[in-house]
């Protein structure tokens, strides 16, 4: 790594006396962004960690008693925590692969030659641009138990016999929201994978088809290895993003019915927002972050290697 060699950028003709200024300059230019992020990101995070060690309920602001790890002990003994953790795992385990698969198919199609390709490529990303609240609103309308088009559609096809209240039924609510999130997130995968596909040299395929390799074998031995880097990066990024995102759930069901659609970040948010229990909410947020950090560290190590 060259970071230890500050003279790398210096042209040899520059006078020596300016080298001190040059050593300080990079840091000086970085300082506005670094200082502001310290103030508005890292300090608040430390404060969350600090709050998680206290009993702190917002409507009793005078009471800010240090209770050590009691909140965390309570978290581990909390049934709702385990329910939420289970939902978070299902949530990631279903949504991310579904997004990946649909995104991969879309990317492979968009990589073919057809006349309206530019149009298709532009339109496919629309879900990505929409605000989560609007996404939640339109899917809630689709799932509406009385007038929703989902019930109408499935009834006409004869797949279901009577209307299902998708979001009000504990058995279907989580699945319904996961479909919404798959819809929202797959364009990201298709865009990333498409960029990976286009980086594979055409000559590989030409050589393979001269050798008589079938389409499947070409996919298996040229395409998949060619996009594996992008796939891993995109999956890691998406796991982090999907795990973190709870705005769609919050608007669509608010976690209900019962605890049927609780995920960990949502539980932490509701604890703080509805019960104003900032101490316990912080402990939940910190616990969730620690779990998430496993994936984040894997991602950062990959990216860190690329930065070298």
């Amino acid at each position: 790594m060259s970071a230890t060699d500050p003279s790398r950028n210096d042209t040899p003709m520059r006078p020596v006396r300016r080298s001190l200024a040059r050593q300080v300059l990079p840091y000086a230019m970085l300082s506005p962004a670094v200082l502001v992020t310290l103030a508005i990101v890292f300090l608040p995070m430390l404060q969350t960690a600090w709050m998680s060690l206290h009993e702190y309920v917002l409507f009793r602001p005078k009471n800010f008693d240090f209770i050590g790890l009691d909140n965390f002990r309570a978290v581990l003994a909390d049934d709702v925590f385990w329910i939420s953790l289970r939902h978070t795992l299902i949530w990631i385990g279903v949504t991310v692969p579904a997004q990946l698969l649909l995104g991969l198919v879309t990317a492979l199609l968009l990589n073919q030659n057809f006349p309206w390709r530019p149009l298709a490529r532009a339109l496919i990303i629309i879900p990505w641009a929409l605000p989560s609240v609007v996404i939640a609103l339109m899917w809630a309308w689709i799932y509406d138990s009385n007038y929703g088009v989902m019930n109408d559609f499935l009834l006409r096809l004869g797949i279901i016999q009577s209307s299902i209240p998708w979001l009000a039924d504990p058995d279907t609510a989580l699945g319904a929201i996961m479909l919404t999130l798959t819809w929202q997130g797959f364009p990201f995968f298709s865009v990333m994978i498409l960029a990976g596909l286009q980086a594979i040299p055409k000559s590989y395929y030409e050589a393979a088809s001269i050798d008589g390799a079938s389409t499947w074998r070409q996919f298996r031995h040229i395409t998949l290895p060619g996009i594996s880097g992008v796939l891993v990066t995109a999956v890691l990024l998406r796991v982090i993003w999907v795990a973190n995102s709870f705005d769609v759930i919050f608007v669509m069901t608010g976690g209900g019915p019962g605890y049927a659609t609780y995920t960990l970040p949502l539980y932490a948010f509701i604890k703080a927002r509805t019960n104003l229990d900032f101490g316990y909410g912080s402990a939940l947020a910190v616990t969730f972050t620690i779990l998430l950090m496993i994936i984040v560290v894997i991602y950062l190590r990959r990216t860190g290697k690329a930065l070298r």
């Binding site: 950028n9 992020t37 404060q47 629309i126 609240v133 609103l137 088009v149 865009v191 990976g196 992008v230």
Partner: protein, 277 residues
């Protein structure tokens, strides 16, 4: 000739039709929302959404009685403020990352990447407490600060990647001609990556416009962004789907249009890092 026709049919079966199916799935919900919004409220529950007898009554109601215009203004102020803060703070940082190598460069870059991975829920609680102490709750500034937690790291990364695309020899030539470092940055590098800066700014605008949880937690009666307004509609006008969907269309419009305008440049910037990595 026969071969060509056969391959065309094959293409339609294996490419055009599946693509069309995926596009239907992608655009269907959005179009359905639009169709609902132009259907008169009375007919919505008897005949369902339809293009016949289209009306804009839901939209006029949205602005007359619900007061959506103010919400749009709030969203605009917050999103523009975030763009200004996000871009201005990160220009010099991006230049520094792109042009110098110094002790701690990698750690600092990773730090900016890390910020975007932290759960929002970890930040939202202390920011609420902080804004309450500072008396900033329910102000535009509070939302601009909150959105900057996402915007600054994002734009540092994007701009570093755009600046990396501009050859260093240009800076060096300018400095040989008597420019200072800052002069070289302002006069040479910034104009050259202006398209990238605009794309980054637009992406920040979209993200801040679409943001909901900060706006809900830190906003209030005075400052109610469009996303919170749409969500409030869901609560207040529970069964008036015509009005609700009109609100959804209006709320999503600016972000959608901007996204379609800059998607090409934006996506090349977003995917660059991933493809290399």
């Amino acid at each position: 000739m026969a071969l060509k026709r056969k391959s065309l049919r094959r293409r339609i079966l294996t490419v055009d039709l599946p693509m069309l199916a995926i596009l239907t799935f992608t655009l269907g919900p959005y179009l359905w929302m639009f169709l609902t919004s132009i259907t008169p409220e009375k007919r919505l529950f008897t005949e369902g959404p339809s293009i016949a007898g289209a009306t804009i009554e839901n939209y006029t109601r949205l602005f007359r009685t619900v007061g959506f215009a103010e919400n749009l203004l709030d969203s605009f102020i917050v999103a523009s403020g975030t763009v200004v803060v996000g871009l201005s703070l990160s220009v010099t940082a991006a230049y520094s990352f792109s042009r110098f190598s110094f002790r701690g460069r990698r750690v600092l870059m990773m730090q900016f990447l890390l910020i975007n991975m932290f759960p929002l829920v970890l930040l939202i609680l202390p920011l609420f407490v902080l804004m309450r102490i500072l008396g900033l709750l329910d102000s535009h500034l509070a939302l601009i600060i909150a959105n900057s937690t996402i915007a600054i790291p994002f734009s540092v990364w994007m701009m570093t990647s755009y600046m990396n695309g501009i050859p260093r020899s240009l800076d060096e030539a300018a400095m040989t001609d008597g420019c200072t470092r800052l002069g070289a940055m302002l006069r040479i590098v910034l104009p050259l990556c202006l398209p990238g800066i605009i794309a980054t700014g637009i992406y920040i605008f979209i993200t801040a416009w679409n943001e909901y949880l900060y706006a809900l937690t830190l906003g209030g009666r005075n400052v109610r962004t469009i996303t919170v307004a749409v969500q409030t509609l869901i609560g207040e006008y529970e069964v008036q789907w015509g009005l609700l969907t009109a609100g959804g269309i209006v709320g999503a419009m600016p972000a959608t249009v901007l996204f379609l305008l800059v998607q090409k440049r934006l996506i090349s910037g977003l995917t660059q890092g991933a493809v290399k990595g």
